[in-house]
Amino acid sequence: MSVFLASESDPIGHIVDKGILGFKLFDQPVMLSMITLIGCAIVLFFLMRKAAKSIATGPVAMGNRRFIPIGSFAALVEVVVVYLRNEMLIPVMGERLTKRYLSFLLSLFFFILALNIVGLIPFVDIQDAIYGLMGKKFDIAEHETSAIFGGAATASISVTGGLALVSFIVIQFQGFRELGVKGWLEHLCGGHELVHGSIFLWLVVPIIFVVEFFGLFVKPAALAIRLFANMVAGHTLLITLTMFGAMAIKAGLGIFAVGGITIVSGIGAILITFLEVFVAVLQSFIFMFLTAVFISLMAHEEEEGHSAHGTDEGHDASVTTAAH
């Protein structure tokens, strides 16, 4: 319990990514988020594979029942996939781009969702509590943890940055593939009409180029910071609420005061947990959706109708996130 209580006065210290005690790779500490990433990836893969088997069309011998998914988890996955594809991605990206990038975008959504949901389960605290009950004591530094799994991986800028870099690569890949180098440079300069237009329009090209060039990096950076900030904020609030009881004990308050504070903060923590589940889903969606919007912006002009629509929604989504 000493480890658990050690972070009482520092909620951020509880959330921040820590090195696993005794594990090193290339002389660097193996971070808790790395194991969580790998664990989530494995669990996600097997869960989704099971769902895929349930959703896939069965043998002909099953008759019409071969078209019906088996199990509630498979049905849930199916609903999410159908909604994202038909209601979100196709209206924004069009049929062709959706078909090309659907696999990547769905993987992005479900992977971030898995990390966000795992971050809500207090695996680190559970392990600390087990060690405490077993009487094990570790001599650990502030930036280390005795836990080997858990924590909010998406509350680490390194993790969200990695995901944003993957999105950046895919967005630029789409740009070069679809527009070519010349078209990509024209896109940075404001588009074909501006570059091949009146000579006076060239006056604004340098400004647009600077804005668009920085935009290349700002967009994925915004994705990373948005996800990271939302996760850190939510978890900080949650941890702070759960720590009120322990802080009351430390402050030497009476049993009724401690009990009252614990009950009220506990109810608050439960309510915030529900909110955090919603935020976990929302942030996964926003990360995936904005990536789709940025990909569609790199499409040919005939598909920009979809892109423009998507940009507005993306803006709305950004506003929602900023509000959160």
Binding site: D10, I12, G13, I15, V16, D17, K18, G19, L25, F26, Q28, P29, V30, M31, S33, M34, L37, I38, A41, L44, F45, M48, R49, A51, A52, K53, I55, A56, T57, N64, F67, P69, V77, E78, V81, V82, L102, S103, F104, L106, S107, L108, F110, F111, E142, H143, E144, A153, A155, S156, I157, S158, V159, G161, G162, L163, L165, V166, V232
Partner: protein, 175 residues
């Protein structure tokens, strides 16, 4: 910054690279083993539902055509039945008229024959009466004359009387 830190904004290269590698691996694995199956299942189901809807619409169109055909046939059958009834009524009327005409003709023929028979009977009765009257007259005349009349005389007298009565009856008829 490559070491672990308590600063939440601290960037660590190892988790950064791990994220890229792990996500790339999981995206490829899901892209190969999961999403194609799920999307094919969804597309199969969509195709099945679409096919069922199209089949149902085709069956409905066939049923509507059949119903229309049936209604048309029913209308034709009703018209045919009405026509048959009309024809049967007409035939019954015709046959009734024919039977009545035949009966009337038969009755008239019978009446005619009865008239002839009556006429014949009347004539026979008159002839017989005339014969008896002549015989009686001869007998009376013989008694008056007090003599025997032989058969030859008797026959001659009868014939004379008959001729006289015939003349008388002819004149009385004319009167």
């Amino acid at each position: 910054m490559l070491i672990a830190s308590t600063d939440p904004l601290a960037f660590n290269l190892l988790p950064f690279i791990t994220t890229i590698v792990v996500f790339s691996v999981v995206a490829i694995a899901l892209g190969v083993f999961v999403w194609p199956k799920i999307l094919k299942g969804l597309d199969d189901r969509n195709a099945k539902i679409l096919h069922e809807i199209e089949s149902a619409e085709a069956a409905r169109a066939v049923a509507a055509a059949k119903q229309k055909e049936f209604e048309q046939k029913l209308a034709e059958a009703l018209e045919q039945a009405a026509q048959m009834i009309r024809e049967a009524k007409s035939e019954a009327v015709r046959m009734g008229d024919e039977i009545r005409a035949k009966s009337e003709a038969d009755l008239a023929e019978r009446a005619r024959r009865a008239g002839e028979e009556i006429e014949n009977a009347r004539r026979a009765a008159i002839a017989e009466l005339e014969s008896h009257a002549a015989t009686l007259a001869v007998s009376i005349a013989g008694r008056i004359l007090k003599r025997e009349i032989n058969p030859a005389d008797q026959k001659r007298m009868i014939e004379e009387s008959m001729a006289g009565m015939s003349t008388m009856s002819g004149s009385s008829k004319r009167n």
